[in-house]
C-alpha cells in the first residue's frame, strides 16, 4: 500500500502501559493517545499517528502472556478529534487519498477483530476519526464531562469513511446515525454532549469525570470476567431504515439543495450499511473518501474551516492588541429592538454597566424591560445562575438624559439610518464624553468617515456592524474610517472578541462587505425579474450553489423596505453597477413583506396580489442566464472591492460571507467557487486565490 506522509504532522503517539486491575487476573494493556501538547492542540491521527497506533497494537499482540483486554484513552480533555486534516490540501493524487482511507481501516480493524476484548475510554472530545476509532472497539465508556462527541465530516465536505457510516447505524440505529452524520453537521456543526451521546447508545456506560479512568478499568474488568453483561439494542433493518434515510435526504436537500456531494455520499453509505458485510461497506467507504478528498467542494471546505478556526480569531490588519483601552461602562443610543439586543449582548459578555437612552421615557423603559425580560428567561432556563442574573440586572439601566454617558468608555448608536440624525447624535455626545471614548456606529450603509467628519475627535469613531439576529450571527464588521486611529480599532476588536464575535477589519466603503455583495447579487436577480423572468425561475437559478436561502426568501427575511433603502443608497454611490428596482419599490409601497405567501400545506407560492402589482418586461432570462449574471456581478464587485482596499484579501471577503450571510463551506464562502468555475478569470482577468489554496492543486 502507498504510504503517504504529512510533513508537518503533529504526531499523536500511542503510548502503551500494562496495568493490573483488581478483580481480574493477568494484565491489561492501556494505550494513551497523546501528542505531547495540551488541549489547545488536540490529538489527531495522521499517517505517523496511525503508524504509532499500529506499533502499539503489534507490541501488545506479541506480549506473552496475552493481556486480558486492551483499552484506549486520551490525554486530559481530549480523546481524539479525528484524522489530521492539515495534510489534506497537499494530497494531489486520488491513489494517495485512497491510501489514507485504507490505512485507517486497516489499523482500526485490528481493534474490531482483536481476540481479546477492546475498550475505548472516551475521556474527552471524540470527533470524526477519533470517534470512529472508539466505534471499532468492542465496548465504550464515556466521561459525563465530555461536551464534544460528533462525526462532523459532512460539514467539511467529507463523510465518516473510517467505518463510521457502517458501524454507527448498526450500533444506535439508522435514525440516530442520520442525526449524528447528516443532521448535526449540517446544522452549524452541532455536537453531542456526553449525556446525549450515551442516551443514543454510542457509549455503554457513563462515568463521572473525577475517577473516570479508574472506574473505566474496573468496569472493563467486570465485563471481561463476566460479572457485567452489556446489552445492545436490536436494530430495525426494515421500514425504520428507509424512513431514516428519507429524513437524511430531506435535511440535505433543505440545507444545500444537492449543491455538494458529501452528505449524499454519506447517505449512500448508510444505505449500504443496512445489509452489506463490513468488508464490502468499508471498501466502498474507501472509494467514497478518495472521491470526496479529490473534490473541489472538500478543498473549499478545508479552506473555509481554516478561515473560521484561525483568521476569524485573529483579524487581519489588526493593530497591536496592547493599544486597546479598557471598557468599564457602555452606552447605547437608541432603545429600539436592535439597540436592546445589543444591550443584552454587551451586558452579558462584558458584565459592566450598560445604559440605554432614547427620545422618551416610554421607549427607554421598553428597551430596558426587554433586556430584563431576556435575563429572566435565561435564568429560568438555567442558562444564568441566580447570582449572575442578579448581577446583570443591576448593570442595565436607561435614561432620557444623555449625561449618563459622561463616564462611558464605549458608546454605540443604533438610531435611525440617516446621516443627519447620526451626525447629530455624535455631535451631542462629543460634548459629554471624554476625548477617547469610542463612538461606534451600527450603521449598515452610511459612511463612517462622513459621520465622524465634523467632530473635534473623529479618530475615535469606528463602524461596529452587527448582523441580525445579534445573538446568533457571529460576524462583526469593524470599519475603519479615514481618520480612525489604531487605539480605537484595537479597542473595537478587543470588545468584539469579548462579545464572542468574529471580527473582520474593513476600510470604510459603502455597505462594507456583506451588504454590498448581497445587494449587488440580489440586484441582478431583481433586475432579471423586472425584465420579465418569472419569479420562480429567478429564485431557483442559484440552487446549484446551495446557498442557505434563495434570493426571494432572503428578501422576505430582510424585508423589502430595508433592501430597497440599501439599494437606493448604493445606487447613489455606484449608479452603473447598483440598480434600483421599480418593482421592489412597488412592493414597499404596497406594504408587502415579500413575494411569497404560504398555503395550507405550508408550501410557499408567489402572492397573486404581488403578481398583479408587478410591472415586468418581456425579456425573460433562463435560470442559467440569471445565475451567470448574478455571479458575474459578484466577481466584478469583489475585484473592485479588493482593488479599492475595502479589505486586503479575498479571504476576508469569504470570511464575511460565511459568517455574515451563512454562505456555505463548499463554496469556500464565494471566491473559491468563482475561481473554480472560471468566472473570476473570465470577468476580472485573474483568479482570486492561487490554485491549491482553496481548490485542487494544479
Amino acid at each position: 500500500m502507498t504510504t503517504v506522509e504529512f510533513p508537518n504532522e503533529v504526531v499523536t503517539k500511542a503510548l502503551v502501559r500494562y496495568v493490573t486491575v483488581p478483580g481480574l487476573s493477568g494484565e491489561a494493556a492501556l494505550i494513551t493517545l497523546d501528542n505531547g501538547f495540551d488541549h489547545t492542540k488536540p490529538n489527531s491521527l495522521g499517517p505517523a499517528g496511525l503508524a504509532s497506533l499500529e506499533a502499539a497494537l503489534d507490541e501488545i499482540e506479541a506480549r506473552t502472556p496475552r493481556v486480558r483486554f486492551i483499552a484506549i484513552t486520551g490525554k486530559p480533555f481530549v480523546f481524539c478529534v479525528g484524522a489530521d486534516i492539515t495534510g489534506m490540501p497537499l494530497i494531489t493524487r486520488r491513489e494517495d487519498a485512497l491510501a489514507i482511507a485504507r490505512r485507517g481501516h486497516q489499523i482500526f480493524a485490528r481493534l474490531r477483530n482483536s481476540d481479546v476484548p477492546t475498550f475505548a475510554f472516551i475521556n474527552g472530545a471524540a470527533l470524526g476519526g477519533g470517534l470512529e476509532l472508539a466505534l471499532h472497539c468492542h465496548y465504550r465508556t464515556l466521561s459525563s464531562s465530555v461536551t464534544m462527541v460528533a462525526l462532523p465530516e459532512c460539514s467539511l465536505g467529507l463523510a465518516p469513511t473510517w467505518g463510521g457510516t457502517q458501524l454507527l447505524p448498526n450500533l444506535i440505529g439508522p435514525d440516530a446515525a442520520v442525526t449524528v452524520i447528516i443532521e448535526n453537521p449540517l446544522n452549524q456543526n452541532k455536537m453531542l454532549r456526553a449525556a446525549q451521546a450515551h442516551q443514543l447508545g454510542i457509549s455503554d456506560v457513563l462515568l463521572d469525570p473525577a475517577d473516570f479512568l479508574e472506574r473505566s478499568l474496573e468496569w472493563a474488568a467486570g465485563v471481561v470476567s463476566g460479572q457485567i453483561t452489556v446489552q445492545r439494542p436490536e436494530i430495525d433493518r426494515g421500514q425504520a431504515w428507509d424512513a431514516a434515510l428519507a429524513r437524511g435526504k430531506a435535511i440535505a436537500d433543505a440545507r444545500i439543495r444537492g449543491a455538494a456531494p458529501a452528505p449524499y455520499a454519506a447517505l449512500r453509505l448508510l444505505e449500504l450499511a443496512r445489509h452489506a458485510s463490513f468488508e464490502e461497506g468499508t471498501a466502498t467507504e474507501d472509494e467514497v473518501l478518495a472521491d470526496l478528498m479529490m473534490s473541489e467542494e472538500l478543498r473549499s471546505g478545508l479552506y473555509a474551516f481554516d478561515l473560521v478556526q484561525r483568521r476569524a480569531k485573529r483579524p487581519a490588519g489588526a493593530p497591536d492588541r496592547s493599544l486597546a483601552r479598557e471598557i468599564t461602562k457602555v452606552g447605547i443610543v437608541g432603545a429600539g429592538l436592535m439597540a436592546s439586543q445589543l444591550a443584552l449582548l454587551f451586558v452579558r459578555r462584558l458584565e459592566v454597566p450598560v445604559v440605554l437612552t432614547d427620545l422618551d421615557e416610554e421607549r427607554v423603559t421598553k428597551g430596558v424591560n426587554y433586556v430584563l425580560g431576556e435575563i429572566a428567561a435565561l435564568e429560568s432556563k438555567g442558562r444564568l445562575s441566580a447570582g449572575k442574573a442578579a448581577k446583570l440586572r443591576g448593570l442595565i439601566s436607561g435614561s432620557v438624559d444623555n449625561r449618563v454617558f459622561a463616564d462611558a468608555d464605549f458608546i454605540i448608536e443604533a438610531v435611525f439610518e440617516e446621516m443627519k440624525v447620526k451626525k447629530q447624535v455624535f455631535a451631542d455626545l462629543e460634548g459629554l464624553v471624554s476625548p477617547t471614548c469610542v463612538l461606534a456606529t451600527n450603521t449598515s450603509s452610511l459612511s463612517v468617515t462622513e459621520m465622524a467628519a465634523d467632530l473635534a475627535h473623529p479618530e475615535r469613531v469606528v463602524g461596529f456592524h452587527f448582523f441580525n439576529p445579534v445573538a446568533v450571527l457571529p460576524l462583526l464588521e469593524v470599519v475603519r474610517g479615514e481618520r480612525t486611529d489604531d487605539a480605537t480599532v484595537a479597542t473595537a476588536l478587543a470588545v468584539g472578541k469579548q462579545l464572542k464575535k468574529s471580527c473582520v477589519l474593513i476600510n470604510d466603503a459603502p455597505a462594507f462587505v456583506v451588504n454590498r455583495l448581497l445587494t449587488r447579487f440580489l440586484g441582478e436577480v431583481f433586475a432579471a425579474v423586472d425584465e420579465g423572468t418569472p419569479i420562480p425561475v429567478a429564485d431557483r437559478a442559484l440552487d446549484p450553489l446551495g446557498l442557505p436561502m434563495s434570493p426571494f426568501t432572503l428578501l422576505q427575511l430582510v424585508g423589502p423596505a430595508i433592501a430597497h433603502h440599501v439599494a437606493q443608497t448604493m445606487h447613489a454611490v455606484f449608479p452603473d453597477r447598483f440598480g434600483v428596482s421599480e418593482n421592489l419599490a412597488r412592493l414597499v409601497a404596497a406594504g408587502k413583506p415579500g413575494v411569497y405567501i404560504w398555503d395550507e400545506t405550508g408550501t410557499p407560492k408567489v402572492d397573486p396580489e404581488v403578481e398583479a402589482l408587478l410591472q415586468v418586461g418581456d425579456r425573460p432570462s433562463t435560470e442559467e442566464q440569471v445565475r451567470e449574471r448574478a455571479l458575474t456581478a459578484v466577481a466584478q464587485e469583489i475585484r473592485i472591492m479588493l482593488d479599492e482596499g475595502v479589505v486586503q484579501d479575498p479571504r476576508d471577503i469569504d470570511l464575511c460571507m460565511i459568517l455574515g450571510a451563512g454562505w456555505p463551506f463548499h463554496l469556500g464562502g464565494i471566491t473559491p467557487y468563482l475561481d473554480r468555475t472560471g468566472i473570476s478569470e473570465r470577468v476580472t482577468g485573474q483568479r482570486f486565490l492561487p490554485r491549491g489554496v482553496a481548490s485542487l492543486p494544479a
Binding site: 486491575v21 483488581p22 494505550i31 505531547g36 475517577d211 479508574e214
Partner: protein
C-alpha cells in the same frame, strides 16, 4: 444539666497505594489522591447520603500548592460532595490524619457532627519535609531545641544513644520482620481490600494504574540491611532499611456517632475509647508514643495489659523498640503490627495515622477475642499521639 457525650465509631477506611517519592505518583496531584479516597469511601458505603457528611478534615504537613488551599474543602468539592458539606485542613506533621480523626471525633462526641470524613495526604516527592519552613532563630539562639531535633534521622540516632540495649542488629531484625509480615499479608490478600486504585499520569509513557504499594522490599535480608550506609551519623545505626522512606499517599476514613451509624445502617468497625497527645524532648521525638499512650490508658482507665492489638507507626525501628521495651513487650510479639508497618509500606507523613486505624479495624474483625486496640505514632518536633479503640466484635470475657 451537663451535655451528653456520644460514642464515636470508625465506620470504614480506605487508602491509596503508597508510592516512593519521585516514583509511582510523580505526575499525580496530592489533592487527586484525596479525591479518590473520598469517592471510594462514599462508593463503599452507599447507605450514607453524601449530604449527611458534616465535615471533611484532611491533614497535610506542607500545605502548599496541591496540598494547600484548605484541602479538606477543595477535595470535598472535587470529589463531588454537595457544596453544603464544609471542610478544613489540619496539621500535626506525621500525626496529621490521627489528629484529624480525634478532632472530628470530638466534634461528633459533642454533637456538632453526626458523620465526618477524616484523613491525610502527603506527597513527599512534590513537597519534601521542610519545604518552605523558616524556623525561628530563637530555637537555636536560646537553645530551646537541640539542632539534631530538626533532622528526624538524627533523633533516631539519639534514641539509640539513650537506649543502648536497642542495637543496630535489633533494629535490622525488626525491619526485616516488618517486610516479611507485609509480604505475607499481601500474599494472603489482606492488604488489597483497603486499597483504592489510582490512575497515574505519565506524559512520557501514558496513563497507568496504581493498584499496589510501591515501597515494600520483600527480598531484603539481614545481610543486605547490614550493608546499608548510616547517613545520619558515621558508624551509626539508623539506615534507609530500618526506617520508613520518603513516600506519597493518601488515607481517609468515615467516622460517625454510633447512634447515627445504626440509624443509617452503616457498619461499626471500631469504637473510640480515648486519645492523647503528649510532648517530649524534640531531639528524641521517637519516644513520643510512650507518654501519649500512658495518658490515653489513664483516661480510659486501662493498663497496657488490656491492649490486645497494636498498630504503631514505624518511622524508625528504634522508636518502636523503645516503646516495646518500655511496656515490656517482645520485639516479635504477634499482637504488634501483624501486617508489618511503615518500614515496609511507607510513611507519607500526614496520612499514616489513618492507615494504622484501617489495619487495626481489620485485626479487630479477625480477632473477636480482643477487646481493646491501640494506634500510636511519634511526631517530629517531639510529640506522640495515641488512640485507644474498642472492638465491637468482642465476644465478652470467655
Amino acid at each position: 444539666m451537663p451535655r451528653t457525650v456520644r460514642d464515636v465509631v470508625f465506620v470504614d477506611g480506605v487508602r491509596t497505594p503508597f508510592g516512593k517519592a519521585g516514583g509511582l505518583y510523580a505526575e499525580t496531584r496530592a489533592d487527586d489522591l484525596v479525591v479518590r479516597v473520598i469517592r471510594e469511601l462514599l462508593r463503599r458505603n452507599p447507605q450514607l447520603p453524601p449530604n449527611r457528611v458534616d465535615e471533611v478534615a484532611i491533614a497535610a504537613t506542607t500545605q502548599i500548592g496541591d496540598q494547600g488551599l484548605t484541602i479538606g474543602r477543595t477535595a470535598a468539592l472535587l470529589a463531588g460532595l454537595p457544596k453544603s458539606v464544609p471542610g478544613f485542613a489540619i496539621d500535626r506533621m506525621c500525626a496529621g490524619a490521627m489528629t484529624a480523626v480525634t478532632t472530628v471525633g470530638s466534634g461528633i462526641a459533642m454533637g456538632a457532627y453526626d458523620v465526618a470524613i477524616a484523613g491525610g495526604v502527603e506527597h513527599m516527592g512534590r513537597h519534601p519535609m521542610g519545604e518552605g519552613v523558616d524556623p525561628n532563630p530563637r530555637f537555636l539562639a536560646e537553645k530551646l531545641v537541640d539542632p539534631s531535633a530538626l533532622v528526624m534521622g538524627a533523633t533516631a540516632e539519639n534514641l539509640h544513644d539513650q537506649f543502648p540495649a536497642i542495637t543496630k542488629e535489633r533494629a535490622d531484625r525488626f525491619a526485616l520482620a516488618s517486610q516479611q509480615r507485609y509480604a505475607k499479608a499481601l500474599a494472603e490478600g489482606r492488604i488489597q481490600a483497603d486499597l483504592v486504585t489510582v490512575a497515574t499520569r505519565s506524559q512520557e509513557s501514558g496513563w497507568g494504574l496504581a493498584s499496589a504499594d510501591e515501597p515494600p522490599r520483600p527480598d531484603t535480608s539481614l545481610e543486605k540491611l547490614a550493608t546499608l550506609r548510616t547517613p545520619f551519623r558515621p558508624h551509626g545505626r539508623v539506615t534507609a532499611g530500618n526506617a520508613a522512606g520518603l513516600n506519597d499517599g493518601a488515607t481517609g476514613c468515615l467516622l460517625a456517632a454510633e447512634e447515627v451509624a445504626q440509624e443509617l445502617g452503616l457498619p461499626v468497625a471500631m469504637r473510640l475509647v480515648s486519645y492523647a497527645y503528649a510532648g517530649v524532648e524534640p531531639e528524641v521525638m521517637g519516644v513520643g508514643p510512650i507518654p501519649a499512650t500512658e495518658k490515653a490508658l489513664r483516661l480510659a482507665g486501662l493498663s497496657i495489659s488490656d491492649i490486645g492489638l497494636f498498630e504503631i507507626n514505624e518511622a524508625f525501628a528504634v522508636q518502636v523498640l523503645a516503646f516495646l521495651d518500655h511496656f515490656g513487650i517482645a520485639d516479635d510479639d504477634p499482637r504488634v503490627n501483624p501486617w508489618g508497618g511503615a518500614i515496609a509500606v511507607g510513611h507519607p507523613l500526614a496520612s499514616s495515622g489513618v492507615r494504622l486505624m484501617i489495619q487495626l479495624a481489620r485485626h479487630f474483625a479477625a480477632h473477636p477475642e480482643v477487646r481493646y486496640g491501640l494506634t500510636t505514632m511519634c511526631v517530629g518536633l517531639g510529640m506522640g499521639g495515641a488512640v485507644i479503640w474498642e472492638n465491637p466484635a468482642w465476644e465478652g470475657d470467655k
